[in-house]
């Protein structure tokens, strides 16, 4: 534990922050500009993981284990979400035979 965090601390914190912000933004952009649901799901996962990275880095720098714990929580929840999400996706595929997010727009106004 000790040396891992020290190993993490070899790289300055800013880099982690920048990296994860970059990842987060990439994911966000993906969510915004892609229309394929699968890819959007991936992008959201990417955003989650950017968060994970960030939290881990912070945890190491603060040398505070609760950060790592939180990462595990996030992973579990993300897994659950993806499970649900994929099943919904399957349902959608069955209904409209496509995975384009803008096809589902009967509910409006």
């Amino acid at each position: 534990m000790k040396d891992i965090s020290s190993a993490i601390q070899l790289i300055p914190l800013e880099h982690y922050i920048l990296l994860s912000v970059a990842l987060f933004s990439i994911g966000l952009m993906g969510v915004l500009f892609r229309r394929n649901t699968i890819i959007i799901l991936m992008c959201i996962e990417l955003m989650f993981n950017s968060v994970n990275l960030l939290v881990t880095a912070f945890a190491a720098y603060h040398s505070d284990p609760s950060g790592q714990v939180f990462v595990f929580f996030i992973m579990i929840v993300a897994a659950a979400e993806v499970a649900v999400g994929l099943s919904i996706l399957v349902m959608m595929k069955r209904n409209v035979d496509s995975v384009d997010i803008n096809l589902l727009n009967r509910l409006k106004w």
């Binding site: 955003m47 968060v51 960030l54 912070f58 939180f70 919904i88 209904n95 589902l104």
Partner: protein, 457 residues
């Protein structure tokens, strides 16, 4: 705590009851279980016990909210007996998922640590994604759950990022510590912390459908099965606001000026979108969706205008709002059945002719939502305005009052339909149980409006 545990166990139990092909026992069991957890929650009153390294704090605030949510859930389940009658499969899942969501709601009311808040929100949301899509072969239901899930998880991502940033700045997930950490800046927070807090707030605001993060709610409310919509617009909203309030109260008081300003903007937007969106709405479920958005606006007004001491108003408002909303959804279901599954306002036409009593109580409930005396809805709004005006927030209050007038307009649009004749009167079947419950709710709405006392939370 025991209530929480028991509720989860109850959920699993109901899930397993699904294997028995006799679905008549489901609702009774679920309701009985909820009654037990109601009793257990009462047990904890005033103890303020903490668990898991103080990540959960069951103080009176959380217990009060839990109780109110349990009561509402019980109501929904009772109505569910009739609602799920013609449904062959997977009834157990419906109940179980709602119970799980309820458990998540418990966490949301009682967290004192951001991790718990996150878990609560997720435990609440994930079952709802499924519930929204409950009607497997219904296109609309599918669309609803899809949209809800997509936007929901996106919001979660934002929320998490916020938590990460805050954690980075303050090196803790505990709200009290975050509070002290913020306090040391006396107002001038570093941008990272500020943005982090903003993201967290946005994450919660999404749950309570505050504009401009409300877009999911009209669609989801319309598409989801009506009973689920009822659940979402009542229990989920209550939980969301409990969490919101607790977050502000435990973590961010005194609220940094920029955040407060941002939240005021959000409130005004919410009031505006909610009421004007509903103004010309023809689909009743969407109307209620928008109306719940507008109510979020009023609640936020109360919450922001007096940080820390508006918990009682919050509880009162959310509870009476839920108490009025649930039976309205039920009446809507009945009318929908009676008029070949239409959802427009006109389905209520002629209700007064065929079922005068239901019509009268429908009117009372709508009056409560519109905030007209002597209903509790009026008392709720009154207290909100008392809070805001005595804080000298005049312009927003005036704005809110104007919005309330618009609210009266669209609610009484429905009333007008209820009291106008219909060409060919439709047969409306109301089971004894439903009728009784509708009347009980209606009476309760009035009684709560007449006998109001300050809750010690």
């Amino acid at each position: 705590m025991t209530a929480l545990i028991f509720t989860i166990v109850l959920g699993i139990l109901v899930l397993y009851l699904g294997f028995i092909k006799n679905k008549t026992i489901l609702a009774p069991v679920a309701i009985a279980g909820l009654l037990v957890s109601l009793y257990l929650s009462f047990q904890d009153w005033g103890l303020g016990s903490m668990y898991f390294h103080n990540m959960i704090l069951f103080d009176n605030f959380s217990i009060a909210f839990n109780i109110s949510m349990i009561i509402i859930t019980i109501l929904i389940f009772i109505f569910g007996i009739d609602y799920y009658e013609d449904m062959k499969l997977h009834v157990a899942e419906q109940y179980a998922l709602m119970i799980f969501a309820l458990a998540g709601a418990f966490l949301m009311t009682s967290f004192s640590n951001l991790i718990m808040l996150f878990l609560g929100i997720e435990i609440l949301s994930i079952p709802l994604y499924v519930l929204a899509g409950g009607k497997k072969y219904s296109y609309r239901s599918n669309e609803a759950s899809f949209k809800y899930f997509m936007l929901g998880s996106f919001a979660t991502a934002i929320f998490l990022f916020g938590i990460a940033l805050v954690y980075g700045a303050s090196a803790t997930f505990y709200l009290p510590e975050i509070k002290t950490f913020i306090a040391q800046f006396n107002g001038h927070l570093p941008p990272m912390l500020l943005v982090g807090l903003l993201f967290i707030l946005i994450g919660v605001a999404f749950k309570v459908a505050a504009a401009p993060f409300h877009f999911w709610s009209p669609d989801v409310y319309e598409g989801a099965p009506t009973l689920v919509t009822a659940f979402m617009s009542t229990v989920v909203k209550t939980a969301g606001f409990a969490a919101f309030y607790r977050l502000l109260n435990m973590g961010l008081l005194p609220l940094p000026i920029p955040l407060e300003k941002a939240l005021w903007v959000m409130t005004a937007l919410t009031l505006f979108v909610g009421n004007l969106g509903a103004l010309k709405q023809t689909n009743f479920k969407r109307l209620l969706a928008y109306s719940s958005i507008s109510h979020s606006g009023f609640i936020m007004l109360a919450m922001l205008s007096q940080h820390g001491s508006s918990a009682a108003v919050l509880l009162y408002y959310t509870f009476v709002y839920s108490l009025a909303t649930v039976p309205i959804f039920i009446i809507f279901i009945l009318m929908k059945r009676a008029s070949e599954r239409h959802e427009e306002l006109f389905i209520f036409r002629g209700l007064f002719k065929t079922k005068p009593w239901i019509a009268v109580f429908m009117t009372i409930l709508l009056m409560s939502l519109a905030g007209i005396p002597p209903t509790s809805g009026f008392m709720a709004k009154y207290q909100v305005f008392v809070l805001s005006i005595s804080q000298g927030i005049l312009w927003t209050s005036i704005f809110a009052i104007l919005m309330a007038i618009i609210g009266i307009y669209y609610y009484f649009n429905v009333v007008r339909e209820v009291f106008t004749e219909r060409e060919q009167p439709s047969v409306i079947i109301v089971s004894k149980l439903n009728a009784a419950l509708i009347i009980v709710c209606g009476v309760a709405v009035v009684i709560l409006g007449i006998f109001v006392w300050k809750l010690p939370i």
